[in-house]
């Protein structure tokens, strides 16, 4: 199973485990209640620490890789294919899309992280959640 097929849909963006799309897919996997070992980690994580959404995707991949018995070489091959895919996608983007992408991805990531904080601390008010978000952003 390739990295791309693991993340489904054949959309190049799905390969980006370091960005917002990674967070997005994280939520999707939760919804799917994936039973792989990585899935258990995801269900336990729920943004309990900064950056855990990204880590969760990483562990998800690792858990999957173990279940699928992928070798290190196959994983490296998938990572190479993923980078090539991202490069192809970047070449297709217009200059305006490239220019706007950085802040848009950041703002999407903030929205998802804030949702995670609200979920983790339902007793907190909006201001407290935003203070926590700011702390996590400072750690980036």
């Amino acid at each position: 199973m390739s990295f791309e097929s693991l993340f489904g849909g054949g959309d190049d963006r799905n390969c980006d485990a370091e960005g917002t799309i990674g967070v997005f897919r994280f939520f999707e996997f939760q919804n799917f209640k994936c039973d792989a070992e990585g899935g258990k980690f995801i269900n336990g994580a729920r943004f309990t620490e900064s950056g855990q959404a990204f880590s969760a995707v990483f562990w998800m991949m690792r858990g999957y890789a173990r279940d699928m018995q992928l070798t290190d070489e196959q994983i490296r091959e998938d990572a190479r294919a993923c980078l090539e895919s991202k490069v192809r996608q970047a070449r297709r983007m217009s200059m305006k899309e490239r220019f706007l992408a950085g802040a848009s991805l950041f703002e999407d990531a903030c929205r998802w992280t804030l949702a995670g904080i609200r979920n983790q601390y339902p007793e907190w008010n909006e201001a407290e959640c935003r203070v926590e978000l700011r702390k996590r952003v400072e750690m980036m």
């Binding site: 220019f99 950041f106 999407d108």
Partner: protein, 184 residues
Amino acid sequence: MNGNDAVLALIGIFDELEVSYMIVGSYSSNLYGVPRATKDADLVFHFESTDLSEIAKRLPEGVRFDEQSSFEMVTATRREILLLEGSNFKIELFHLSDDDFDQVRFKNRVVVQLDEETWVWAPRAEDVVIQKLRWAKGGNRSKDFADVVNILKVQGDMDFQHIERWCGEHGTTGLLEEARAETS
């Protein structure tokens, strides 16, 4: 107002006041490499006056200068920060420094057309690589190194004579070689 709107508004103010500038940092590497999320926009600008009130009074609602300016350590450049109300996104303005490379990349900056009505000034791709490697070394930041690898991958053909010359000056030749090896 979101981060991109604020950046474009600021660029409009620079154009209006005829302030020379260029967009640097991850905005510039996003133009030439693989776009990634960024929590700030960095611009280098050349403004004769130290009085920024002309810029400040034109800022859109919800955008303001942080009261304290600071120094960026790699090139010892004075930095002003613009804060966006209700957002964690920041705009950082670096005064053009006397640093040789800062002067060269500013002189060589190019216009990047975003659409029919919008354009921005940005460094050449080669100069983004050079500066990012400097940051990767000086700031020990892996994301700058990754940006360089991505720019080299996306751009392919580049003026490596220029890049190698400046990397030699900055002591980043080893990092450049590592980045090139990762793209092969």
